[in-house]
Point group: C2
Chain length 210, copies 2
């Protein structure tokens, strides 16, 4: 790989059917920018276009606006988060342990990708963007697995019977609360993350025993 030029030497034009190639190039360039700078503000349309080797208006051939681009970038991470949580839950032997392992995996994943987590779960989204995100959330295997696991706990007699939706949302709130607080106030002297997650979920689930 030779010397990387400062001006990324305009892309060669894509062949006839290959317009979608640019779309994925934009997505990976935007993701790289987000990860490298760790700052959503650095991901400007112009910076992304420049990284791809294209002019800014070309972005709008594939994304309606900047918001849609950011959401598309983070969709991938949402799938990965779902997968990581499911994988962790799969390691457990009983559904109660599955919830605890999933909780730790969730926080761990979020803290490893703070900017993406911030965009996914801490941002103010426009109405239609939010609707899209919610649809994706509800149809995601992650959230449904959470609900199912809560119900499995109740059926197995590990958890007092109550509204599973409330329990699921509260569990989500606990892990989201820890994750988002640690992301937005990194300079605070937080106790060790694993200790907090373990303590929180253990105590909450203990309090829900039959």
């Amino acid at each position: 790989m030779g010397s990387s030029q400062t001006v990324p030497s305009r892309r060669t034009r894509a062949p006839r059917g290959g317009g979608d190639k640019l779309r994925t190039e934009i997505l990976t360039a935007a993701e790289n920018l987000l990860v490298q700078t760790c700052d959503e503000a650095a991901v400007t349309v112009r910076a992304v276009a420049n990284a791809v080797g294209v002019t800014p208006p070309s972005i709008y051939l594939h994304f309606a606006d900047k918001d849609e681009l950011l959401v598309a970038v983070c969709e991938r991470n949402f799938e990965e988060l779902s997968a990581a949580v499911e994988r962790a839950a799969g390691e457990a032997t009983d559904p109660r342990d599955a919830l605890r392992l999933a909780a730790t995996a969730y926080v761990h994943f979020g803290l490893a990708r703070p900017e993406q987590y911030r965009i996914l779960f801490m941002r103010k989204a426009g109405p239609q963007t939010e609707q899209m995100e919610l649809d994706r959330l509800r149809s995601s295997s992650g959230f449904n697995l959470l609900l199912d696991t809560v119900q499995a706990c109740m059926q197995a007699g590990l958890m007092r019977r109550s509204d599973p939706m409330v329990v699921a949302v509260v569990l989500w709130s606990i892990v989201h609360g820890l994750t988002s607080l640690m992301i937005s106030k990194p300079a605070f002297e937080w106790p060790p993350m694993e200790e907090m997650v373990d303590h929180a979920t253990r105590a909450y689930l203990d309090g829900l025993r039959p």
Copy 2:
């Protein structure tokens, strides 16, 4: 009190010692903008200056940058949040109930001022801004009251002995998690707020019994 003009007819210049008058005018104008539009993006330096009846550079006579202005606006709300939580805790008879009442008051307060809550607790702040916020947090009566109340629970035999800091932070995470999730995903079909807060804190505190 005539007809309010579209162009707010330039302020009359402040007298000699009264330069600080503009500072408070800027703060209240910015707060009004934030509350009325319910959108942080609408609070631009230019809009604030225009609302006060002054030109944009005047803002910088009193605030280093836009960030400092926003933080100054929300400081007031932080004090109010502390006060509201303390007031609620004061209604309780035992420290365990104090925690529950404070939790509900916290979420209630946050949901009533979503944009301010977002700026205070969900934003990415610059390093020095964050340091200021953390100092204010640590020296706030609200956070110290939380810690004290947790310790009071332990001393009263209402709560198993463990690191009070962990318990306090987790309690904070629970209420922050609920508040911030409901703020950033308002279109989700959340169960009733009071039910969730009550369920969450009750279960968590039950799980922490000796």
